[in-house]
Amino acid sequence: MYTFPNKLRNLSIVFMIVGFLGLTYGFLTSPATIEEAKAMVASSHGDGHGESHETSTESHAEDTTHASSENHQLASQDHGAATHEEGHDASHDEHLFHQLSNKPWAALYVAAFFFFMISLGVLAFYGIQRAAQAGWSPVLFRVMEGITGYLLPGGIIVIVILALSGMHFNHLFIWMDPEVVAHDKLIAGKTGFLNLPFFLVRAVFFLTGWSLYRYFSRKFSLAQDEATDISNHKKNFRISAAFLVFYIVTESIMSWDWIMSIDPHWFSTLFGWYVFASMFVSGITTIALVTIYLKSKGYLEFVNDSHIHDLGKFMFGISVFWTYLWFSQFMLIWYSNIPEEVTYFITRIEDYNLPFFGMVVMNFVFPLLILMNSDYKRINYFIVMAGIVIILGHYMDVFNMIMPSAVGDQWFIGAAEIGGFLFFLGLFIFVVFKELTKAPLLAKGDPYMGESERFHY
């Protein structure tokens, strides 16, 4: 049996505390009123962040002086026009205020979703190994089951955040605001699907389905350890095949609900696959990292280089698969250049240039070059290095999916973002390693265990 080392437990608690402080700081410094929001943007503009910011301040300043001089002239003649100008300005300020007050919420949501997504990706990988009756991977089953232990707590946190959005604690999902829907024909046409009760019912239904599979699969897996026949293994095979069908449909709808609907005007038909690729590669990478960590501490003596090699191949392959989907989505929209579609990428390229293209380097170019060589995939050092970059890269991927619609060009990787990442990292480590201590690290009853232990390349 594995015992949770105190050092790691303390580290995870430190992560949680530091992360919590960062998040608290983020929430406390978010503007409480429209005036504060205006003041914050004005002071940050003064710093001159970069070219795009500077030009925007210039044009902004020109606009305001122009508008105010015009206002003066108009004010003497026509009061109506002036109030119209003011009204327009005020709605812009309110928009800015919403963006800034969304910022800590979005930071919280990105990190919460990212770590939840890792455990869901691992659950899919685990389901595939079970349904395919894979011979190489049973030595890793307990590691995977440990990681999926985070599914339920992580999922509950995500759903609580969604419910809080529904209660208007933030404006992450603008379609939840009846005021917005009333003035927006496109969203109004989607209310049959995008309405709060149905949205939350779906979320709870998905999480229940995934958790039920996880619960029963774990139960059968533990029962198989002591069993004399393979009936538990067979049951696990059957529910895994059923789960995979359920999963690919619900995962797709989940990605529209929880991510794509932040941008309710925009849609992409391969979005579900895109999110799937992201969670799958992050999940596999996490399996590799946890396995290498446990092995370095003297556990998992039955895991050999070839298992790590296979995980490395998956990391490499699914990274390329992710890029394929990323590019497919980008190229078709870029090529057809339809305004309501292409705006998605214009905001990302103009306001999020570094994170948007930086993530492609982290998720594609780096793993491609590092993991291409067959020998490197057997060296733990390379897997860990590539793995950390892939994990951070897919955090950036989720960041790029959520932030542009939630906070616009007001993004910054600051206390709230880093705090959110650390908080959920700490929680993830705590829950996962706690789960690992609950069962022997070798699923010794699995009929394929012999094959898996002898597995070599």
Partner: protein, 175 residues
């Protein structure tokens, strides 16, 4: 130098693998093994060097990528600038996303075809070449080990028989 060789015939790949290990343990030099299908682990049992074709594949892929870039740049930008879908011509970089599929395909095309050609050249294979295969049974379901003889007929024959060979024959090779 003797030009006599011994041919040992096997009918099972597992037996063949253990025979190869036993023969190498006795310090005999195995000239060649003929099999009807690739036998997993045989290269390691024979102590063959690792293949370097992966490195060549990478280089060929890079060549393919360069050819694709040069080709698309010449065809679509320099020689006859084309305006498709209102995208800016005269600039390779701004049109780059639409060339990515071609860049990818030519990378794969060059890597695959040049790898096959390299493999044929390294294996000394070319069209209309007469087969070197000493026994047509190895194209069906039998495995054959060829070992050069150095006045050790008896020892070797006994060893091969013991290792599970279904037939052991001494062949005089025409030079």
């Amino acid at each position: 130098m003797s030009n006599k060789v011994v041919h040992a015939l096997y009918d099972d790949d597992d037996v063949l693998l253990s025979a190869v290990k036993a023969i190498r343990l006795d310090k005999h030099h195995i000239e060649e093994v003929y099999t009807p299908f690739p036998v997993h682990g045989l290269d390691k049992a024979l102590g063959l060097e690792d293949t370097r074709i992966a490195i060549m594949a990478f280089i060929y892929g890079c060549i393919g990528l360069c050819v694709a870039v040069a080709m698309m740049n010449f065809i679509m930008i320099e020689d006859w600038p084309q305006n498709i879908g209102g995208k800016p011509s005269f600039s390779y970089l701004e049109n780059m996303p639409s060339f990515v599929p071609i860049m990818f395909e030519l990378t794969v095309f060059f890597a695959a075809h040049l790898m096959v050609i390299t493999f044929y050249m390294r294996s000394k294979l070319w069209p209309f070449k007469k087969a070197e295969n000493p026994n047509p049974l190895t194209t069906d379901d039998k495995f054959l080990i060829e070992i050069e003889l150095h006045d050790n007929e008896k020892v070797l024959t006994a060893l091969l028989k013991k290792s599970g060979a279904i037939d052991v024959s001494i062949i005089e090779k025409p030079e």
